[in-house]
């Protein structure tokens, strides 16, 4: 191993916020497509170090919410404050640069590339050596590549996917693809990690594995996590606070126990007789 490459550890970058302080805050955010309101007047916050779940029936606006946070959609109204700074229209790559990573409901991996390359692509923003150096693959660019490779290997170990390191991800089963996608997001060492249904379509064992990874990411790397999930058992087990959406409105917000006993939430999930 090259002596100039220092040992690296994975953790969210220190942003000067203490655990429990608000890292992301949405105030009165509204988003509509043409005449269809996807999100109406929603306010909530995410605190540093917590696991924040966003739940709600289908079509409640959960994914739209994540898309607003990472810059795919731009809300017509409302203010988004990330790490104390109010954001104006932000492009997704700028959101990524500011420390927000995400996964997708329908796995969005680079199917032609190997697991390793997929996770390496998460390091895009952390690589700075210019491109001539990389072509030559000598000196500083080589050190940099090795340094990033080390971090990626740590993630691969962490997620227990050593055996599929070189496999093109298109060939992997769904559960493993989801894990690789999580790995790519982790490679960005985000301050805020957005997970869109990380356990959708998984069997019980895979769900347990994924829950364990999410908890470990949260506790070991100190990453703040916002996740959308339909499995209520999982949500109530792993999240610190839950926000509930229905038809684009917020109908509940609080600890899992508070949310469970909220009449509006019960009505939304079970239906209410008129």
């Amino acid at each position: 191993m090259n002596a100039r490459v220092k040992h690296v550890e994975l953790h969210a970058e220190d942003d000067g916020l203490a655990p429990g302080e608000v890292i992301l805050k949405l105030d009165n955010v509204s988003l509509s497509f043409g005449g269809v309101k996807a999100i109406s007047d929603i306010s909530f916050d995410i605190r540093k170090g917590e696991i924040r779940a966003i739940i709600g029936p289908n079509g409640a606006g959960k994914t739209s919410m994540l898309n607003v946070i990472n810059g795919f959609y731009h809300p017509q109204q409302g203010v988004i404050t990330f790490r104390g700074k109010a954001r104006s229209r932000m492009q997704p790559y700028e959101a990524a640069a500011s420390g927000i990573a995400r996964t997708f409901q329908n796995v969005a991996l680079f199917k032609g590339m190997s697991t390793l390359d997929n996770i390496m692509s998460g390091r895009t923003l952390k690589m700075h050596r210019n491109f001539l150096w990389q072509v030559l693959n000598v000196g500083p660019a080589r050190d940099e590549e090795i340094e990033h490779r080390l971090k990626v290997e740590e993630i691969i170990d962490f997620l227990e996917i050593q055996h599929i390191r070189k496999t093109p991800v298109g060939k992997l089963p769904y559960g493993l693809q989801k894990r690789v996608e999580l790995g790519r997001a982790l490679a960005m060492e985000p301050d805020l990690l957005l997970l869109d249904e990380p356990m959708a379509g998984m069997n019980l064992e895979e769900k347990e594995d994924m829950s364990r990874f999410i908890l470990d990411v949260n506790s070991q790397m100190g990453t703040t996590i916002a996740l959308i999930e339909h499995d209520m058992g999982v949500v109530m087990d792993i999240s610190d606070r839950v926000v509930v959406l229905d038809y684009g409105r917020k109908i509940g917000d609080g600890t899992p126990d508070e949310v469970k006993n909220n009449q509006d939430v019960i009505d939304a999930y079970l239906g209410v007789s008129h």
Binding site: A96, A108, F110, G112, D117, V135, R184, A185, M188
Partner: protein, 319 residues
Amino acid sequence: MDFLYAIFIDPFVQMVELPDFLLQVLWEGFVAGVLYALIALGFVLIFKASGVFNFAQGIMVVFAGLTLVGLHEKGVPAYLALILTIGVMGLLALAVERFVMRPLVNQPDIILLMSTIGLTYFLIGFGEFIFGGEPKQMITTELGLPTGSTAFEIGDGGLLILQHIDIAAAVIAIIMVAALGVFFNKTRIGRALRAVADDHQAALSVGISLNQIWAIVWFAAGIVALTTGIMWGARSDVSFALEIIALKALPVLILGGFTSIPGAIVGGLIIGMGEKIGEIYWGPLVGGGIESWLAYMIALIFLLFRPQGLFGERIIERV
């Protein structure tokens, strides 16, 4: 019976009897194929990264060639003109990204295709306005490209004549493809390009800027166009007629697959050599002139049996 003999037996008899002539035909086809492959390469670069079929690739070849020759005519030394032309292709890439791609992002493919047709006509008009519509002589010797030819003796008394410029074209094409291979596989930008080709949303989410990537691929396609323009211009001349020949890239792409760089090359060679052989050995049966449509025939047959091309990604629709 005579007819069947003429189709299935006679051409092969001719090939065996005059092997040097066959080699000459194959070489001519190979060189044409290299040039088709270069044009197809320009298409593939842009298609991979943005899903846009760039109808303007052919005119970019002409435009690059015209700019180079035009600058030289205005008294700029050849190598400086080459560097300036590279700069012009860079500016063109930035302009296309800013004024065509960015406003039309997320529009249906057909709209993006139409916009590149618009770009084609803009470049035709702009090129004629600046440099005039007359065909121009490529500045081959000024750029230090070889001229002349070498003859090889083959068997007893057979001759194979290779034009030096053709050899140079083949070598430059190989270098170019190798360079693109390194660029795509070994660099961070290359990885980002492949990422964008696979999934736009995911690429955005890891912090890749689509705008930057598009500008880079259009620039790369511009450089490929310039190389093609020089090589093709050296064999005939630089004129707007080249744009029609550039459409030969279509059958090449159908054969090789729209997303594959090796496919563009193999497809180019198959089409180039196939149409030369077809023209020489089977052309006389139908009165000649099959070179202009044979490529499209081959493409049509391919579409029936292997629509994704030789190397393209399998088309799988999940229902």
